[in-house]
Symmetry: C2
Subunit: 141 residues, 2 copies
Amino acid sequence: MENEELVHSLRLLISGLHKSLRKDISESTSLSLTELETISLLYRNDHMLPTELANHTKVSTPSMTQILNKLAERKYIRRKSDPEDKRKVSISLTSTGKKVIENALNNQDNELRGRIESRLTAGEIKTLMKVLPILEKINSL
Amino acid sequence: MENEELVHSLRLLISGLHKSLRKDISESTSLSLTELETISLLYRNDHMLPTELANHTKVSTPSMTQILNKLAERKYIRRKSDPEDKRKVSISLTSTGKKVIENALNNQDNELRGRIESRLTAGEIKTLMKVLPILEKINSL
DNA sequence: CATTATTGTTAGGTAAGCTAATTAGTTGGA
DNA sequence: TCCAACTAATTAGCTTACCTAACAATAATG
């Protein structure tokens, strides 16, 4: 079995794609990948706790605090203390934050999207879609 | 067309996988992803120039210099000045470096490999292999 | 109640990258 | 032929995106 080769190629790919993505996103939004991911989680979930966000984005809770501080400074999110359990802080997007993520999603100049649409055939894009759930299995937990 | 969704999922995946990978590799080899990638390029190519390595790994040349310094300190690579063009430095792996990359490839405790083999069916692994060239198209240049 | 657990934060550090400037060597045109 | 422009690698110094350890506040549990 030469899964070694698969693992190896996957590593190179992820490393390369990560660098391109990071550069692209920071240029267009001046946010890090994880910051964008945080906003997009909030876009889909209405409100979440810092620990939940940290788990989903795979960063430590102190790191998530920093991210939330930055996003709060820019008025992309708001913090609301939970009256039931005063340790908890409910995080949600402001309307500004919603605009930011909607822009990022729709952005035609988006480098990754441009690459996909200019370099891949319709069939290849379909194949790529099919493989996403598989990659998610590897990524999860 | 909702390529937006595809692009979005791909971003989350790459960000998550990158974090897992980086952690895993640094724990098992105390190398960064790019450092491992550099060694593996040298494993396949016998000798390369710093600029070539920088291009392939998508880092700047000063960053590559740093990486090469670290790898040279550990005696994983050697630098040899090119007599034809004295500006050029030919980089190649030492036998120690070869052992390192061979170990990293074969490592059964390898986290990514473990995930792939324990979580995916044989069919899914096949599909994954098929999609690699497509991802490479996105990654290249 | 007193201890233990959980949530979020602060403080401080590190790793992996970047740009700008430097050194050294090469090439091509007036 | 020689100087201007280019190329290759490096150095210096900075930034960003994380991390761990320690702490304060609150909640749950024996």
